[in-house]
C-alpha cells in the first residue's frame, strides 16, 4: 500500500545547522498493516511522517501510495488519501467552529468544494452515529464549538475526522502525548477500534513502549534518521519492553533517550 524508497531529508542544507533528519529510509507497508514507530528525541520520526504527509519535500527518494507516486504532490492533494492526527490537540480541528461543522469538512474530503450546502440533514444522522460510537457523549454537543472540548475529546474527534472518509493511510504522530494518562488510554483504544474496523494501513509514532508492542502488527525503531529495528510476527509477540531497550542500545550504541518516554 505504501512504498518508501531511499527517502532522505536534510534541514538547513548547506548551513552549519545542517541536519540529516531522515537518512535513506526504505519502508514498505502492506494493506491493513498497523505499524508502531518508536525512537529517541530527534530520531526523525516526525520528519518521516511529515515527508509522507507532504509538509516537507524530501531531498531524494520516492513515496508511492497505492500505486500513485505522491513524492512531490502538494500537501492538500495527498490529504485526500491520508488521514492525520497531530500531537497538538489544537492542530486537528477548527476551534471556533462547531463539532458538526468540523465533521462536515472532514466528510467532504475528496469531494468538490463548491456552493453545495455544507451540512446536509442526512449527514447529521451519520455524524451522530459516528460520534456516539466514540462513547464520549459528543453526539449531544454537535452544535457546540470545538474550542470547548478537552484535549482527549478533541483528539478523539480528530481521529474520527481522519477516518470518516476511509483513508489509504493513517498517520498518527504521538497523538496521545499531550493527554493525561486516562485520556491517552481512551484515545489509544479508540485508535485500535477504528483501525481494526476499517482495516486501515497505519503508521503510529508513540513514546509509549508498551503500547508500541501491544498495539498494531509491526514495530519499527528509528535512530539518527534510519530504521534500526523492524519486527513483526512471532519475534514481536515474544518481545518485551526491556528486551526492546536492550536491542536499541546494541543497535545504536547509545542509551534510548526520549523525554516523553513511557516504559510501563
Amino acid at each position: 500500500m505504501l512504498e518508501i524508497r531511499s527517502l532522505s531529508k536534510t534541514f538547513s542544507m548547506g548551513s552549519i545547522n545542517e541536519k540529516l533528519a531522515v537518512d535513506e529510509v526504505d519502508l514498505t507497508l502492506e494493506a491493513g498493516e498497523f505499524v508502531t514507530v518508536i525512537g529517541g528525541n530527534g530520531a526523525g520520526k516526525s520528519t518521516l511522517l511529515n515527508c509522507i504527509a507532504g509538509v516537507y519535500e524530501p531531498d531524494k527518494g520516492s513515496i508511492v501510495l497505492d500505486g500513485m507516486d505522491i513524492t512531490y504532490w502538494p500537501e492538500y492533494k495527498r490529504s485526500q488519501y491520508i488521514g492525520r492526527v497531530f500531537q497538538d490537540p489544537l492542530k486537528g480541528t477548527a476551534f471556533d467552529m462547531t463539532i458538526e461543522e468540523n465533521l462536515a469538512m472532514a466528510y467532504a474530503k475528496g469531494k468538490p468544494h463548491g456552493l453545495q450546502w455544507g451540512i446536509r440533514k442526512a449527514d447529521l444522522a451519520l455524524f451522530r452515529e459516528h460520534l456516539a460510537r466514540l462513547g464520549l457523549g459528543l453526539e449531544n454537543r454537535m452544535k457546540q464549538k470545538v474550542g470547548l472540548l478537552s484535549g482527549g475529546q478533541r483528539q478523539a474527534l480528530t481521529l474520527l475526522m481522519a477516518t470518516i472518509v476511509k483513508p489509504k493511510l493513517l498517520l498518527l504522530d504521538e497523538h496521545t502525548a499531550a493527554l493525561d494518562p486516562s485520556a491517552a488510554r481512551q484515545v489509544l483504544y479508540l485508535t485500535k477500534e477504528l483501525v481494526e474496523q476499517h482495516q486501515l494501513c497505519t503508521l503510529m509514532v508513540t513514546h509509549n513502549m508498551k503500547a508500541a508492542l501491544e498495539y498494531g502488527t509491526r514495530t519499527i525503531m528509528m535512530h539518527d534518521g534510519r530504521i534500526i529495528l523492524d519486527i513483526s510476527g512471532e519475534e514481536r509477540r515474544k518481545m518485551t519492553v526491556d528486551k526492546l531497550i536492550e536491542l536499541f542500545g546494541r543497535r545504536s550504541g547509545q542509551e534510548l533517550d526520549n523525554d516523553r518516554l513511557l516504559l510501563g
Binding site: 476551534f95 467552529m97 474530503k109 451540512i119
Partner: protein
C-alpha cells in the same frame, strides 16, 4: 444633535457596514490583517465615480466590485505565491493602488459628482424617490448579509472560515489553502470596494485619500460589534459587525456634534481601536489585580489571627 444629522450618520453606517463585513472576512474568518482595504475602498469609489461621469451609475457598482476582487487577489498572491508576510503584502498593494487609483481618476485627486447621475437620483419619478438615500443602501446591505450568511455555510464557506482558525487542518481535509485565501481576500475587498462605490455616489464625490484609515474603521466596527453583541453564532457575528459599524458612525457623529474638530477624527478612531484591541489585556490586568488584593487581604487576616 438634529434628527437629520442622526439619520445621516445611520445612513453612512449602513454603507460602511458593507466595508466592515469585508474586513470581518479578512480579519476574522481568514485571520489576516489585510491593509489592502484602505486602497481598495478608494479604488471602488474611483471606479464608481468615473462610471457615473460616463452615465452608468448602476454599472458602477459591479465594476467597482470586480476591481476590488482583483486587488484582494493580488494581495493574496503576494502572500501565498511569493511568501510575503500578509501585513507587508497589503501595504505593497495599498501603495501600488494609490497610483492606479489616480490613473482611474484621470490624474485628478478629486472627482465631483454634483450634477451627475447616481443610483440615488436616478429613481426620480418613482414612489421611493424621497427614500433612496437610505432605502438603497439598506436593501444592498441586507442582500450582502443574506448572501454571506448562506455562503459561509456552504462547503467552500466552511473551509474558508476554518482557514483562519487552523490552515493546517484545512490542508489535512484536502483543501488548498492558497485557493481559500485567494478567494477570501478577493471577497473581502469586493465588499470593501462596493462600500466605497456607494459612498462616492452618496457623498457625490470621490477623493484619492478617502480610504485612509478605512481598515481601522472596519476593525473598530468588527470589535465593537463583537464586544457588545457577541460571537455565539454565525448570523449573530454578521449582525454584530453591522451594528458595530452603525454604532461607530453614531459615536463619531455625537463627538462631532459635541465640538470635536473633524481633523481629530482619525486620532479618535485610532484610540477607539487601541482600547478595543487591548480590552482582553486590560480585563486580565484588572482581574489579577483584584485577585492579588484579595490574597493580600487574606494574608492580613491570617497574620492578625496569628497575633496574640
Amino acid at each position: 444633535m438634529s434628527l437629520l444629522a442622526l439619520q445621516g450618520s445611520l445612513e453612512l453606517g449602513i454603507i460602511y457596514a458593507i466595508m466592515a463585513l469585508g474586513v470581518f472576512i479578512s480579519f476574522r474568518t481568514l485571520n489576516m490583517p489585510d491593509l489592502t482595504v484602505d486602497s481598495s475602498f478608494t479604488l471602488g469609489a474611483a471606479v464608481s465615480a468615473m462610471l457615473c461621469t460616463m452615465g452608468h451609475p448602476f454599472l458602477a457598482l459591479p465594476a467597482a466590485m470586480v476591481a476590488g476582487w482583483l486587488a484582494g487577489n493580488v494581495t493574496a498572491l503576494l502572500y501565498t505565491k511569493l511568501k510575503i508576510q500578509p501585513l507587508l503584502a497589503g501595504i505593497l498593494v495599498m501603495l501600488g493602488l494609490y497610483s492606479i487609483n489616480l490613473r482611474v481618476m484621470a490624474n485628478r485627486a478629486n472627482i465631483p459628482l454634483l450634477n451627475q447621475p447616481t443610483v440615488f437620483n436616478s429613481l426620480q419619478g418613482t414612489p421611493v424617490e424621497a427614500q433612496t438615500h437610505w432605502l438603497l443602501p439598506l436593501v444592498l446591505l441586507l442582500a450582502v448579509i443574506l448572501l454571506l450568511y448562506l455562503f459561509l455555510q456552504t462547503r467552500f464557506g466552511l473551509v474558508l472560515r476554518a482557514t483562519g482558525d487552523n490552515d493546517q487542518m484545512v490542508r489535512a481535509v484536502g483543501v488548498n489553502t492558497n485557493i481559500t485565501i485567494l478567494f477570501g481576500l478577493g471577497l473581502a475587498n469586493t465588499l470593501v470596494a462596493l462600500s466605497g462605490a456607494m459612498i462616492a455616489q452618496y457623498q457625490s464625490f470621490a477623493d484619492i485619500s478617502m480610504g485612509v484609515g478605512m481598515v481601522i474603521i472596519g476593525l473598530a466596527s468588527v470589535i465593537i460589534g463583537e464586544v457588545l453583541f457577541g460571537t455565539s453564532s454565525l448570523l449573530r457575528r454578521l449582525l454584530a459587525v453591522v451594528l458595530g459599524a452603525m454604532l461607530y458612525r453614531l459615536v463619531i457623529a455625537i463627538a462631532l456634534h459635541l465640538g470635536m474638530p473633524p481633523t481629530d477624527l482619525k486620532l479618535v478612531s485610532a484610540i477607539i481601536v487601541t482600547i478595543a484591541l487591548s480590552s482582553p489585556v486590560i480585563k486580565e490586568g484588572l482581574m489579577s489585580r483584584q485577585k492579588r488584593s484579595r490574597s493580600y487581604a487574606h494574608k492580613e487576616v491570617k497574620d492578625n489571627a496569628g497575633n496574640p
